[in-house]
């Protein structure tokens, strides 16, 4: 038992001495989560292939972009106007209600004859000679006097039905007569009444017997031509204004870029076109086309006109057409932000008898083609020269927000961004990035002076960039530079760029006229290389 106690005591002593003997030096770890080893990182970041055609698709004004067969990019503003058959001639419902008095007689049937006209032309100075009828219904109602017997005929001498017969309604007296005839395919040779109004006549004739009564009676005739639509119509339709357009439109395809002083466009034109299926001489007048730049106050006013004779009667119907080009270079080079224009089109502007004595004969064919189309097309091909266009973009770059712990900078020796700009666009861009503090003081320049970002490839005689021009650009941020930016509280980057067209081989001071094709690409490659160092703190 004593032996056991001894063993237990020895074991206890060993345990206690072990506990105290194994107590090691206390450890204080300060900021173990903070990574303070020198950074060393070399990685590709991105490679971008920016295609001109993609840039165009991203524009807000895509609807104005036109790519021609050579893939040259144009801005085109196309405005069209049209006038149709109904803008020239107009027919209301033609109706006539007449009461004819027919004599009563106790002994014999007495003939009666009445002639009336129903006017068709509504517009003064408009004369119709002949028409083929596309659709029409002639509704006739005749009511004989009470107690009369006999018969009547209602003739329309100017209307020849499809079968070649004159349109006639006839019946014996009796109950009220009602009839309707379809006049599709019929012809109407207008009768010019005493007032030279194009009309057609209604002749009412017949025999009447009062059956012993001696008093006169009233023969009531009601004529109505409904749904009248001519197919072809001939005559002289008068001098009339058939298109009257005024438009005030913003012209902002250049966006916020104030290129005015630096950009010169070439081969900009306005095409005024007119195509007429009317058998009518048409005159189209641009009474006013005013390009204005609200910033500079500059304006350019253009006027012009175009006239076409009547279309050639067919079949086939051959339209008359013509166009005229206006040079818009001066108008576009003021950098317009607004275009205002007034356009009018006249039919028979010179009247029925031309100055040379010829008489004008008009016709219209109502077949869906019989329209006038006027078109104003402003075409601005991207063929231009830009000279030292300079702009500054400001980017928020609060370095103290980005680097929360100042000591992080101590582990940086140098950060280099390696850019490769492989440029197929016909521009050279010089850039400088200024690191600026809150009061606008420049703390550091990030690029070398006169650093090119892109260099233009060679430009051929047609203004097209040939091939690609590679330009490596290294942006080095040394410890000293980053420290200076941090210490001075850099808040913004002012990116100043200077763009010139062409200027291959680093001569942007001699800009060239260049064309912008959809086939151009810009390839950008960026890698980063960070070299760290042990902190000095």
């Amino acid at each position: 038992m004593i032996k056991n106690k001894g063993i237990i005591l020895i074991l206890g002593a060993v345990l206690i001495s072990t506990l105290f003997g194994c107590k090691k030096e206390d450890v204080v770890l300060t900021d173990p989560q903070k990574y303070t080893r020198p950074l060393n990182l070399a990685l590709p970041i991105f490679q971008a292939k920016i295609k001109a055609v993609d840039l165009i698709e991203n524009l807000d004004t895509t609807q104005f972009i036109f790519i021609d067969e050579d893939s040259l990019i144009h801005v085109q503003i196309d405005t069209a106007f049209s006038a149709g058959y109904e803008d020239v001639i107009e027919f209301d419902e033609m109706a006539l209600d007449i009461s004819h008095t027919i004599a009563g007689s106790k002994a014999i049937e007495i003939p009666f004859y009445f002639a009336d006209t129903l006017p068709a032309a509504l517009i003064e100075g408009q004369r119709f000679d002949y028409t083929t009828i596309k659709t029409a219904q002639m509704e006739v109602k005749v009511s004989a006097p009470s107690g009369f017997t006999g018969s009547f005929k209602l003739k329309f001498p100017e209307i020849i039905q499809k079968n070649g017969d004159t349109l006639i309604f006839e019946s014996d007296f009796g109950q009220e007569y009602n009839d309707t005839r379809n006049l599709e395919g019929a012809t109407l040779s207008f009768f010019q009444n005493a007032s030279d109004i194009s009309s057609f006549r209604i002749v009412t004739e017949g025999l009447a017997d009062s059956q012993g009564g001696s008093s006169n009676g009233a023969l009531l005739v009601s004529v109505k031509m409904v749904d009248f639509v001519p197919n072809e119509i001939f005559g002289f339709f008068g001098k009339m204004l058939i298109i009257e357009q005024k438009q005030d439109m913003d012209f902002d395809f250049l966006g916020d870029y104030d290129f005015t002083d630096m950009i010169d466009f070439k081969d900009v034109k306005l095409t005024l076109g007119l195509e007429s299926y009317f058998g009518i001489p048409i005159s189209l007048f641009i009474d006013s086309m005013l390009f204005s730049n609200s910033t500079t106050g500059e304006t350019v006013l253009l006027k012009d006109e175009i006239r076409v004779g009547e279309a050639t009667y067919g079949p086939p119907l051959v339209p008359s057409k013509d166009y005229v080009d206006l040079d818009l270079v001066d108008a576009i080079n003021i950098g317009p932000d607004n275009i205002y224009y007034e356009v009018n089109a006249w039919a028979n502007f010179e009247g029925e008898v031309l100055p040379n004595g010829d008489t004008v004969q008009n016709f219209l064919i109502n077949d869906g083609l019989g329209e006038i189309e006027a078109d104003i097309l402003i075409d601005i091909p991207f063929w231009f020269k830009i000279s030292n266009y300079e702009r500054t973009d400001i980017i928020d770059f609060d370095i103290r927000d980005m680097i929360e712990d100042e000591t992080t900078i101590d582990y940086l020796e140098e950060l280099i961004l390696y850019f490769d700009f492989n440029n197929g666009f016909p521009f050279s861009i010089q850039a400088q990035a200024y690191a600026v503090n809150a009061t606008g003081d420049t703390i550091e320049n990030l690029f070398d002076d006169d650093q090119y970002l892109w260099k233009s490839p060679a430009i051929d005689v047609n203004g097209k960039a040939v091939g690609m021009e590679n330009n490596p650009v290294d942006l080095s941020l040394t410890y000293e530079k980053v420290k200076s930016m941090y210490d001075n509280g850099v808040k913004f980057l002012h990116i100043q760029t200077n763009v010139s067209s062409g200027g291959a081989s680093g001569t942007p001071e001699i800009p060239e006229f260049v064309k912008l094709y959809t086939s151009y690409n810009l390839e950008i490659k960026l890698s980063v290389d960070i070299t760290g160092k042990a902190s000095t703190k």
């Binding site: 080893r37 950074l39 990685l43 991105f46």
Partner: protein
């Protein structure tokens, strides 16, 4: 002929090993021979009692950790200042030397809802129901070298193929029988029915990451990744793939009772089987020898399978963008993951897989100095995939059978920790408490962490081990009936003459 047998055994072991995460019971338990749980070391061992009943849920609470990352060199003293991995003063060489190709971190948890045993005429029957979770993470050495070098330099060539995640959660129903052949030889077996519940296993053959200079312009670099491997998962998750069959999202299930019952309690889709066999031979009153091979088995995972296989190369020359606006840049970065998945031919499948339990070979000897004091030695060999781990343990054991059993021992792990372990069993009436732990960290210190971003308030962690390689602990409560010996073999008096 002997050599043929030996080769066959070794080959069989390796086949059964597969990818395993190996829970290991404390070696200290071996010397607590009146604790029923000692039979988990050797199935032939039985408690010196007619019967026992483990208190449900707390009869075998086990936790363990095994790592080579928390060694003494994870915190270094340089110029009087303590530093760790993130510091520029930290020297990575000792860490590299310790971890080899990969740093390993494994953890194990076990709990037994039910356990009991009783002696028959000659044999001893036992049953246990145990829930086991094992997890293992291997972090490639080259991941540390990224931290060491401050990133990826041009010319970096990283081998990340040692990266591995292996984990499994399974249920073990063990039916044991220990039979006394002769007066001095007892053999035992545990037949274990396994019910796999969830598992993840990685099998990565190649995972290289190189950063090279551009052939045409050394100002630029490109990063090349080559990947060949498969991740196997058996778990109630749903994987959605894009129109090309490339997986793009994973959805975890609802945690409602029906799902828990279906996917947990009554999930019989991942069956497994394992055996422990062992023998104890009492050479004479003084010497006793034992041998056991445990956890010889596997689980075949068949249910809720998802496998992700990659075999290809991805060459990164920068994010591809078509414009310099934010949308295009975001689209470029969003598409990067898809590009990687396509380049490495990532595919989703439903491949089944197997996991082993990690067979262990125990060889032990005890020399009884007298009836209450003994010394012992125990060897444990743990077989892993293409590898094995060897531990040797020596002990001094005090066995006052009525009340107290203790052991103090020392373990030497080849290429691992060398430190002491303790075991203790206390009994009052039928209630027995036991505790066994290996690799007790004997050197400790107070660790104070100062985080200047949090105002510099120091956080003190007292009794922080100076290093942790292995540590495991098991404790529990049992009810012991007839604790003075078996029905046919009364307990000797501990205080009688030897």
């Amino acid at each position: 002929m002997k050599r043929t047998y030996y080769s066959t055994i070794v080959l069989t072991l390796f086949l059964l090993v597969g990818n395993t995460v190996m829970a290991q019971n404390p070696l200290s338990l071996y010397y607590l021979d009146n604790v029923p749980q000692s039979m988990s070391i050797n199935p032939a061992m039985v408690p010196r009692a007619n019967s026992f009943f483990g208190v449900p849920g707390i009869n075998s609470v086990y936790g363990g950790i095994n790592t080579d990352i928390l060694g003494p060199d994870i915190i270094q003293k340089v110029n009087g200042k303590y530093v760790t991995l993130t510091s520029e003063l930290f020297d990575y060489k000792p860490l590299y030397s310790r971890i080899g190709k990969a740093a390993n971190l494994s953890a194990y948890q076990t709990v037994a809802p039910l356990m009991f045993g009783f002696s028959g005429k000659k044999g001893y029957f036992t049953f246990s129901w145990t829930e086991k979770i094992t997890e293992s993470l291997a972090i490639p050495k080259d991941m540390f070298s990224i931290m060491d070098n401050g990133g990826l330099k041009a010319g970096s060539q990283l081998d990340l193929s040692p990266f591995a995640i292996n984990a499994q959660y399974y249920r073990e129903l063990s039916f044991g029988y220990s039979y006394k052949f002769m007066s001095n030889l007892r053999v035992g077996i545990h037949a274990k029915v396994l019910q796999g519940l969830a598992a993840i296993k990685t099998d990565i053959n190649t995972f290289d990451l190189n950063v090279n200079y551009d052939d045409l312009d050394e100002r630029h670099t490109n990063a090349n990744m080559e990947l060949d491997g498969t991740v196997y998962i058996s778990a109630p998750i749903e994987v959605y793939s894009d129109e090309n069959g490339v997986p793009d999202s994973i959805v975890t299930p609802e945690t409602d009772l029906a799902t828990i019952l279906d996917k947990g309690v009554f999930n019989f889709s991942n069956p497994g089987f394992a055996v422990d066999v062992g023998a104890v031979y009492d050479y004479n009153e003084a010497w006793s020898f034992s041998a056991a091979i445990n956890d010889l088995g596997f689980i075949r995972w068949r249910g809720d399978l998802n496998s992700f296989t990659a075999d290809g190369q991805f060459n990164f020359t920068g994010v591809s963008i078509s414009d310099l606006d934010a949308d295009s840049i975001n689209t470029g970065f969003d598409g990067l993951l898809d590009s990687v998945k396509n380049a490495v031919n990532l595919t989703h499948g439903n491949k089944g897989f197997s996991t082993g339990l990690g067979p262990k070979l125990y060889l032990g000897a005890v020399y009884n100095v007298n009836h209450y004091f003994s010394v012992g030695a125990l060897s444990r060999t743990v077989f892993a995939k293409n590898d094995f781990r060897q531990e040797f343990n020596v002990s001094a054991n005090l066995n006052l059978y009525h009340v107290l059993t203790t052991t103090i021992n020392y373990t030497v792990a080849i290429n691992g920790a060398n430190t002491i372990g303790l075991g203790l069993a206390l009994r009052g009436g039928p209630l027995q408490f036991y505790l066994a732990a290996d690799y007790l960290p004997y050197a400790y210190r107070t660790l104070t962490i100062v985080n200047s971003e949090d105002g510099g308030e120091p956080q003190e962690i007292p009794f922080t081990p100076t290093k942790v390689d292995n540590f495991n602990i098991m404790f529990g409560l049992n009810l012991i009936f007839g604790a003075n010996g078996y029905r046919d073999e009364p307990m000797i008096d501990a205080y009688s003459e030897f």
